[in-house]
Each structure stands twice: as structure tokens, then as C-alpha cells.
Symmetry: C2
Subunit: 346 residues, 2 copies
């Protein structure tokens, strides 16, 4: 969302009580290219995909595409999303899933200066990047640029121990009483896997929210009125509005979903090698997988079937091309790629 009040923005609502209400939809449009999970962002916060407006202090920030709901013509929320994503970005999205509705006060900073309250319904959509090149005003970004601590593919991210743990512990200790300190500490331990607690790849939102509460991300400072936060640093790039929260929600949801629904295939071409498939799953999950076991999982699990054709040389022995095996939907209730706790090798 954004809180656009122009034609590309949300649907204005006047409830007679004050600043009013705007309702609209945000899209987290995800693709995986070159083993990187990518999300489509628009250049300047507060814009629709291509509509410029007046300058603001946060113009540099990326934002998620935002579009309106037209109550007169959009029969469903999902159709509204598909409509404006097609109109604005030229993308015909395939998989679409509603994520969450965001409605906190002041999620749009302009509410402070009399702007309307902006409610945004977040959607996750999956596309293949080649089918959806970024247009002017928008671009694809590696989602780990915004949440670097989520990528464990190269091992445990250093920022966790160098920055996050110390800063978070300071915040825990800063609680007003002992019970508060304990509560904060428990939340931090569970979310970030400190103190022996295992890392849980799905708690993406929990982690971002703790960092926000602890004042460690630029957005917290901005929302408090401190205008000075830098836009990027070791704690990732900031986004406009609460869009990093929406992104975190999307990642967590997607990581959970691949375990029990075959959604990965929405991100892959018709046929693919098992290594390609593995790399896409790893990109989403942010963790490395054991190659042989992964193969066993998807093959014996009936998730894919060989095509008999081989992929052209990628450096070693040619790999067979596989395709998604649709019948698996009938056979198993939860056909997905279960992720291990956190393995090591390849």
C-alpha cells in the first residue's frame, strides 16, 4: 500500500469521524532468478507502480506495489489485485494468495499530518521473472537485501552475532521491570534462536517486529519522528510505510507453504533439473539442503517425474529434466518439500 490518495491509490472512505479511511491492496510479487529470491518494488514510496506524486522525505525508499479496490467493478479482492497488477505492471500473475490485512494506525506517516487511515490487504503472488520484466519505475530486488539475517545459505549470517544479539540484549535489559526483561528475553531467544533455542526459518515476521520494536531498523526511527535513519546498512535496506513488515509476512508464509503445498513449481519453468528445483527451494528457505536427500524427497515423494530428456551441459554430467507431477495432489494430503531443521553440507 502506501496511502496513495491519487487515482492509483486506495479507495477513499469517509466515515464522517475525521481523517477518513482508505482501503487498498499491496502485492508482494515474488520470483526466483539466478538462485535469488526477488521481489518487485517500486522506486518511490507512496506511489502506485508508475504514478509519480509530490516529493517526500522518503522518496528514495522502495515500496511494494499498491493499488485500489474498485467496489463497483471488482467482484473479488483477488480480481482487483490481478486487474491493477496487469494494468500497471503488465504482469499476468499466476499463483495468488491473500496474506494479511495491515491496519495499524500511522502505518502511513502522512496520517500524522491529517492524512487518512490506510488499510491495506496484502497479497503474495508468484511469477517467473522472465515472464515479468520490471518496467520503468519498478525493479526486482533480492529480498535478502531487506532482511539479510534471513539468508543462511552461506552459513550463519555474521550480523546475527556481531550486531543483532548485542543490540537486542541491550533492549531486553532496558525493560522497565524484571518481568518485562524476562518477557523480552524469551521473545528474542525464540525468534532469533539465541541461548540454545533452534533457529526457525518461519519466524521472519517475529524477527522483524522485534527489531522494529527495539528501534534497530530505520523504520522505527522514522515512525517515531527521528528523521535521521540511514536507508541501508547491515540491518538491511529500509522500505516505505510498513512494507518491510509485509515482505516479512510474505516470506514467512511462503517458507511455511512450500512444506505442504507444491507452490515452488510456480517459480520454475515447465521442466527443470533437480538441482534447479533445489536451488529455488534453498533460495526461499534461506538454507542449504542435502542434495541426495532432497532428490529422494521429491522423487520418491512423487512430486516430480522425469521427462527422459537431459539438460545441456552445466559443467558436469548432464542432468535429467523433470516436471511437476500433478497427480501427487490426489495421492498425498500435503505434497511439499519438508525442510530439515538446519543441515550443513551439500
Amino acid at each position: 500500500m502506501g496511502g496513495n490518495d491519487g487515482p492509483a491509490g486506495g479507495t477513499r472512505i469517509d466515515d464522517g469521524t475525521g481523517g477518513g479511511l482508505v482501503i487498498g491492496l499491496n502485492a508482494v510479487i515474488v520470483a526466483v532468478t539466478d538462485e535469488r529470491p526477488r521481489v518487485l518494488v517500486v522506486r518511490r514510496a507512496g506511489h502506485g507502480l508508475g504514478t509519480p506524486s509530490e516529493p517526500s522525505p522518503y522518496d528514495d525508499l522502495a515500496a511494494l506495489p499498491f493499488g485500489p479496490l474498485d467496489p463497483a467493478s471488482d467482484r473479488t479482492l483477488e480480481l482487483a489485485l490481478r486487474r491493477w497488477v496487469r494494468e500497471q505492471a503488465g504482469i499476468g500473475v499466476g499463483y495468488v494468495e491473500q496474506l494479511y490485512t495491515f491496519g495499524d494506525q500511522n502505518r502511513d506517516p502522512r496520517e500524522r499530518t491529517g492524512g487518512p487511515r490506510v488499510i491495506s490487504i496484502g497479497y503474495l503472488t508468484l511469477v517467473r521473472e522472465d515472464a515479468a520484466p520490471a518496467q520503468a519505475g519498478s525493479r526486482w530486488r533480492d529480498w535478502y537485501d531487506y532482511l539479510p539475517w534471513e539468508d543462511w545459505r552461506g552459513g550463519r549470517p555474521a550480523v546475527l552475532d556481531d550486531e543483532l544479539q548485542p543490540s537486542l540484549l541491550v533492549w531486553c535489559d532496558a525493560a522497565s521491570d524484571d518481568a518485562g526483561r524476562r518477557r523480552r528475553r524469551e521473545r528474542v531467544d525464540i525468534a532469533f534462536g539465541f541461548g540454545g533455542t533452534p533457529w526457525d526459518g518461519y519466524r521472519v515476521l517475529d524477527r522483524y517486529e522485534l527489531l522494529y520494536e527495539a528501534g534497530l531498523v530505520t523504520e522505527s526511527k522514522r515512525d517515531r519522528g527521528d528523521d535521521g535513519g540511514e536507508i541501508s546498512g547491515r540491518l538491511g535496506w529500509a522500505m516505505g510505510f510498513d512494507h518491510r513488515r509485509i515482505l516479512a509476512t510474505a516470506i514467512g508464509r511462503l517458507r511455511g507453504k512450500i512444506k505442504y503445498r507444491p507452490v515452488v513449481f510456480e517459480l520454475l519453468p515447465e521442466t527443470f533439473t533437480l538441482l534447479q528445483l533445489q536451488r529455488v527451494v534453498e533460495a526461499l528457505a534461506g538454507q542449504p539442503l542435502h542434495k541426495q536427500n532432497f532428490r529422494r524427497l521429491v522423487e520418491k515423494g512423487g512430486l516430480v517425474e522425469g521427462t527422459g530428456r537431459l539438460a545441456s551441459g552445466t559443467g558436469g554430467r548432464p542432468a535429467e529434466r523433470f516436471r511437476f507431477r500433478r497427480d501427487v495432489l490426489r495421492e498425498r494430503p500435503t505434497p511439499g518439500v519438508g525442510l530439515p531443521s538446519l543441515p550443513s553440507s551439500s
Copy 2:
């Protein structure tokens, strides 16, 4: 929701385009008492918890509690929900989780006659029934009254084979072309577990939506303008608006959640016997569980700890009272009660 436009209804929005927009919140308030999963319903559709209005043809239908969002004073959506649930039902809810935002056109039949488009943000909340007696205008209902085919505790529900399968197959065959027939058939098989596909307890919404599409539930007839559907039958009781869909969403979500988050304990007293715990899980999951294995799961899994005290005689050997072991949150990423595919004995 409901599409209340009175003070107890949603927040009116005038977008200048036509009938306007109303936004509000629906609560699926769940408790488990006497081994039955219950949901709080209000007596007449289209009402807030206690506010009467003009008569309508669907006054007999139950509906879910609905309340407004006050953009001026409710800081978050969840706080809005807590506020009006407390005000209207006198219930201080504990666990609250946003479910889904419902915004299909004509989900409120009054849209057809010029009423505003009603967007509703659905919430799931868990309470203990003893802490929340139903007040005038509302009552607790077994949720399987509305979705009888979801309760497998007494074995496979007869209605599945007697009514649902035949009627659904007729609907499948009624598709316009062969591809359509195949598509319908696949959806039906997967959702209802026909043709060898296993039953999946989480697909509650898929099932309801198929029945709705196939015109087998009263709500489909009502929404098509056929006014004659009966309010209850072997396919369960109807609800106002799309509230049965919201209920189905809640059940599916909750069934999924108990597997990896210890939410069941929100429905139980401070201490409980393992059988009590098992009955609550069975009530939610709609399936029987193997007693010894269930015990092993929750005990060895570190989910509960014994208190040393015994429960007074319930007919046999006294059982030890257990309590939820909070530390499990730090130890395991997904502490919940994993459900088996579909066991048999007790």
C-alpha cells in the same frame, strides 16, 4: 460482518463511486466445552452482538459477531476487535489471530438492493467457555452443526457417502466440457478424499466452497436469489452472509495451527488431565487419536509437565493433572500436537 450500517456495524466509507464501502471485523470466538468445539453466534444475521434492527427474510440464521473499526481511536485492528468484543459480549479474549479478509461482492445480500459493499476482516479468538457465558442475543453452538461432514470422531460421517458424493458427482458431470468435468472431479476428489485420495482435515474451506459452488448449501441458493432453501438439513445449518465460509476458514486454520503451535492450551484450564487435553484436540481436529501415542507425544515432546496432583475420580484410576510447559517454546521450533493421517482405535 454483516453489513450493519448502524452504530454497531462497520465503518462506513463513501468513495463517491456508488453504493459505498463498509469495513468491519468478524470474530470467530471458539471454546471447547464437554468435548465439543463451540463457536459464539448471534441470533439474527445482520446484527451486532446485541443490537436488533428491521426484520429480514434471514432473521433466523445465526451469524458471527461483527463490529466496527473506529479509525480515530482504534490503534490496531486487533485492538478494535478486543474492544467491541469486550463491550458487546463482555468477553475478554485471550488468543487472537487474524484469519482472512472477506470482500467478495454480494457477500451481504443487501448489496443487491443498493447497500454498501461490505469488507470484513475475520479474526479467530480462543476462550474458555466458562469464562465467557453467552449473553442475551448470542449463544454457543457446536461448530459441527454447521459443517457436519467435518466430524470424524465417530467414524466416517455417513452423509459423505449418502449425500455429498452423489450430489457432487452430478455437479462434476454437469460441467460444460470435458476439461471442466475433469477439473471439477479433481477438486472434489482432493477436497473430500474420494477415489483413493486421503481425507485431509485441513481442507475445511475447500470443502465448503465446493458445496457452495455446487449449489448444495442453502447459502448458494439464497445468493442466487432462490429464496427457498431450508435453514438446516443433513448438510448442516446455514448461516447469514458468508459466515459459514468464515467459520470454515477458522476451523481449517485452527486445525493446522495446533500441529505446530501450542494453542490448545488457550482452551483448557490451568491444569488438566491428558485425556482432557486429548478430547480437546480431538474436538478441534474432528478425529479420534490413539491414547497412548498421544500421551507419548505431548509428554516426551515436552509440551506438558505433571503437577504431581491427581484428578478426582472420573470413573477409573485417577489421572495426574498436567500443566502446559512454557519452556517448550524455547526448545523446539514447532511445539504442537502433530495429528496422524486418520487412525482408528482409542
